[in-house]
Amino acid sequence: MGLYIGLFSEKREREYSDRELLSRYARRIVPFKKSITLISLFILISTSADIIIPLMVGFGVEELEKPNRDFTLVIGVGVIYLVLSAIIWIMFSLRRREVGNFMPYFLENLRMDIFDKLQEQDMSFFDKHLSGSLNSRVSNDALDFGNTTILLADTMGNFFVSILTFGVLLWLNPILALITLAGVPFLFLLMFSLRKLARIVSRDYRKSIGNVNNGMVESIEGIQVCKSYGQEATVSEQFQETNKEYFRTAYRLTAVTHVWRSILETITAIILVIIVYLGGQLISQGTSSTAIILMFILYIQRFFRPIMVLATFFPELSAGMAAYERILDILDSEPNVKQHSELHDVDELGGEIIFENVDFSYRNDGEWVFKGFNLRIAKGEKLAIVGHTGAGKSSLVNLLARFYEFQGGSIKIDGIDIREMRLDLYRRNLGMVQQDVFLFSGTIEENIRYGRRDASEEDLWKAIRAVHADELIEYLHDGLKTQVGERGGGLSAGQKQLISFARALLTDPKILILDEATSSVDAYTEAIIQEALEVLLSSRTSIIIAHRLSTILNADRIIVMEKGQIIEEGTHESLLVQGGKYGQLYKQYYEHQSLDWKPIKLSGEKISNS
């Protein structure tokens, strides 16, 4: 499929010059130069052997045609042939072995480099890059790029074969050699038109595979709806069309991409027949010999294949380099979050947080989330933040956690700028519980221990009991050993929430940030979470993005945010009395969470109409 490489992936803008790409590529393979030299050497030897073999056949036949032939010479030719055959295999084997000594390690280094760079990135990076595409860089692009290295050695070998073969042919008979060469332009013409055709057909193919994917995903995601409405048959029928279309486009594409070999071999056959015909004439004129024509027959079969492979070199190289570019795109991304050069080692922070004139924009495009934002949170304070989506609530905690870099102003904790603290030590003082709880593949215990793997059994259970997760864990069949995450699943949002509380509590952070539970947590779980929160929040500074009335009521202070500004602050009572934005928000989102709320009867008119 080399001929069509690169056709089936999406186009991408070039960001690096060829020279830069190649020089960086060279740097990457320098540690493996011994392997690469050896591989090239093996290829060189085996291709030389491959070229000498027809010559041996020719010499042998010439000798055998003579009336008084020399037995030792004939035997010699035969033995050399045998030895060369063995050499070709030995070189093949050595080459494979050497690739095995180099490629796996090359890939390992490359993947670890990409991974390390990913670890350095802040969250703005992950906003820009989908996890699927990052994953494909580490698994597929790394492989493609690795193969390019072998490609270079291979191409060199093929280049060598075609040049040398042609040289030999010229030496044997210039006219016949030039006639052979006439096949080459046809090959190139063939290749370009086929690539062009394939590009057109592959467009439909890509579209139809996308449709199959979508159809599949939709039917699975919506399976419950489909079943509750008894519509399985309708959905299946709709998919049948998509599936048929995929067959049609895929078959068309295959028909185009597989025709080249047959055409190539037909061109070879035509040239061969012409050469034999002309050769016959030359022999009858006495200007050529059977041996020479025989050698032509043998060489022609080896001549076009390498040229075809050579022709695919550039597409393949550019595909490999495109993969490398995508990798470089990661390797060269500098994290936006940068710590100052002189760093404080922080041990245990007190927890007084001051935002001073903070300016922040996610993409640094002048769309400010904060402009001159100020906020002081006292040590040990429980602060609740409320506001509409997009008011800047999450941005505030994102900045505090150093997930994003801010552009102006400062954030200080206990008087030290957070940019001047060692990031790992600083973050150890922070605890975060997010709205969408993410659990890693593994057991519940591994997840709770995530921030402190060496925690004692006693501490572990203390944390679990404190947040009332023990009830849940004991209820599960495998208890702490229950598998969760990608491979396990099966926990409800509320249960995951409790586990994430335990996880946060075990690290005993000085500052706790809660992006609160979703509204889908039921009343009972909420009651438990509420009890858990009381434990969790005591004796530390906490910032809570509030979705629940109960948390708001228990906070020391509520701030109401809108468009990156604090527009109101105070306690629940004082804010309600004030009757401003908070009053409205309360009515809209929180009021019905209280027991007193009753829907007001509308006049019956509208309803009876419908």
């Binding site: 004439q281 022999i283 249960q495």
Partner: protein, 591 residues
């Protein structure tokens, strides 16, 4: 056309079953392979003949004719090669298409417990990547057969047309060659399988550390993640090293090269003794060279085959994982005078295969809902509320006990009718990426536009649809992403209303709409809910309080039953949930 997997006992049989369905195509491919092989091995013989009869004798009279024959054989070989390849691909693609449709249909009729365990990404990968891999295996299957055919043909030709002595020389090599081919396949198998496992391991570990990026950072667990990833990468590396080691010792090729060399040496001696012609020497040499290409193909074909069978086994496992839902029932028609009395009688249920290993979600669960009652279900997450609803819809089957509707076991109602008469508005609303009106009409594809509009109005869909330029023809985007949570819920409510169900189940269905809209929907609902039995799962206190009956669940049991005031008195659990709210400061604020 979904699959009756019970009749097929292994993935290999499943694969064969699909192949046999295309037996005509399979036959064509076999015929193609034989003809291509025959044409391919004839060419050297013809060339040898040309050398002997024209080039060496310098008698050109027959040259043109012979060359014309050569070219014809060449061209027909290439044409046959292409045709065989295309028939092979047709076979592969057709099988892929059939398997995919079968997979799709089977999934549709799998019970929900199947879907709970399956991950969408996995199923999607099965339906696209894995099926493509199987297609490749079938399409390239010919490559696997070629060398065997060809080596046999070559041996026959050597004996028949060339020289018996050469054939004798080749025989031990040929046997060795076949032995090594089979050996190679056996030895590479574990490594090829390992490659797939280690490759996906790298992806899984990486995916975790990317999805959990924020958590990794906030717990400063970068080192831990690095270690996990490194282990996965090392696993991949070591497997690859092992694989190349086997590949490096690809003995079939060694045997082949030695055969070619030895035969050439012997031919030279025979020609020297004048017992062999130069043409025959050339023919034998070219004949054996034609084996190199197919032998190399084995290399790739083995890979294709390994991954192909692995994919077959994954698909087969997925297909055979749960039986299809039982469709049989005793009542053939839905009763006209259906009233909607629900009774659970001693129901015990656990998720999982046979229900014995997992903790039961519901234990000896019994209750009755009278016709037209509105009942609220309250309890902690995982206490079995949603499970109970799913049992009622027969999305799952209880291990013990019975569920009755109007006194008749639900298993006696036709399954599709049962589900159509129970309207269920689920917790996570799922909308299809079609237009709003198509989504509303999902349960009744033949509903008129007027009916759709009327229901939309009732569910307050009309409010926000006005804002879209294409109104009801607005496509809601993937999973309904163009709509907010509250808007999706309203569309789902309209969808349920349209089917005019006798029993309505609301699973936290208005959690995401603001209080004003909820008010409106609540009132609209009051009208709709009239003359229907309604089950409500909610944490909205006012809904709970105004229900006819409240059922409090805990750990799969009913711990209390009654109305709000009763329960505040009698149930400690109920107080634990709602007691807190009672001691809140009474705030009456007028703005």
């Amino acid at each position: 056309m979904s699959l009756d997997i019970k009749q097929i006992s292994s993935y290999k049989k499943w694969f064969l079953y699909h192949l046999v369905k295309q037996k005509f195509l399979v036959l064509c491919v076999l015929v193609g392979i034989i003809s291509v092989t025959s044409l391919r091995v004839i060419i050297p013989i013809v060339i040898g003949y040309i050398i002997d009869t024209t080039l060496i004798t310098r008698d050109l009279t027959n040259l043109i004719l012979l060359l014309a024959i050569t070219l014809t054989v060449y061209v027909s070989r290439n044409a046959m090669d292409y045709i065989t390849m295309m028939v092979g691909h047709y076979l592969g693609l057709k099988t892929e298409q059939n398997m995919r449709q079968e997979f799709f249909d089977t999934l549709q009729y799998k019970p929900l417990r199947y879907h709970d365990k399956a991950r969408i990404g996995d199923l999607q990968a099965l339906a696209t990547n894995d099926l493509r891999i199987i297609n490749t295996m079938i399409s390239h299957g010919a490559f696997y057969i070629y060398p065997f055919f060809q080596v046999i043909m070559a041996a026959i030709l050597l004996i028949v047309t060339l020289d018996l002595r050469l054939a004798m020389i080749c025989t031990p090599f040929i046997l060795l060659y076949i032995y090594f081919l089979l050996q190679y396949r056996r030895r590479i198998t574990p490594w090829a399988a390992g490659r797939m496992v280690t490759h996906s391991n790298v992806a899984v570990v990486l995916q975790d550390s990317i999805s959990g990026a924020a958590i990794v950072r906030s717990f400063t667990a970068e080192e831990l993640e690095r270690e996990k990833f490194h282990q996965a990468v090392i696993g991949f590396r070591d497997n690859r090293i092992g694989e190349t080691k086997v590949q490096a010792k690809f003995y079939p090729l060694l045997v082949l090269y030695l055969t070619i060399g030895a035969t050439f040496l012997a031919s030279c001696i025979f020609v020297f003794q004048d017992t062999l012609t130069i043409g025959a020497l050339t023919a034998a040499n070219l004949l054996l060279i034609t084996l190199i290409d197919p032998t190399n193909m084995i290399f790739w074909a083995t890979n294709d085959m390994m991954s192909g069978f692995a994919a077959c086994s994954r698909l087969y496992t997925s297909l055979s994982l749960e039986e299809e839902e039982q469709q049989e029932s005793y009542l053939l028609e839905w009763p006209d005078n259906f009233r909607g009395r629900i009774e659970f009688r001693d129901v015990t249920f656990a998720y999982g295969d046979d229900g014995t290993q997992n903790t039961p979600i519901l234990k000896n669960f019994s209750f009755i809902v009278e016709p037209y009652q509105r009942v609220a279900l309250v309890g902690p997450t995982g206490c079995g509320k949603t499970t109970m609803v799913k049992l009622l819809l027969r999305l799952y089957e209880p291990q013990e006990g019975t569920i009755l509707l109007d006194g008749i076991d639900i298993r006696n109602y036709p399954l599709d009718e049962l589900r159509r008469h129970i309207g269920y508005i689920e917790q996570d609303i799922y909308l299809f990426s079609r237009t709003i009106s198509e989504n509303i009409a999902f349960g009744r594809p033949n509903a008129s536009q007027e009916e759709i509009r009327a229901m939309a109005e009732l569910a307050q869909v009309n409010d926000f649809v006005q804002d879209f330029p294409e109104e009801y023809n607005t496509v809601v985007g993937e999973r309904g992403t163009r709509l907010s949570g509250g808007e999706k819920q309203r569309v789902a409510i309209a969808r349920a209303f349209l089917t005019d169900p006798e029993i309505l189940i609301l699973d936290d269905s208005v959690s995401a709409v603001d209080s004003k809209t909820e008010e409106k929907i609540t009132h609209a609902m009051e009208n709709v809910v009239k003359n229907r039995t309604t089950l409500v799962i909610t944490h909205r206190l006012h809904t709970i309080r105004t229900s006819d009956k409240i059922i409090v669940l805990k750990r799969g049991r009913i711990v209390a039953e009654g109305n709000h005031n009763d329960l505040l008195q009698s149930s400690e659990d109920y107080r634990r949930i709602f007691g807190k709210h009672l001691v809140l400061p009474e705030l009456v604020v007028r703005t």
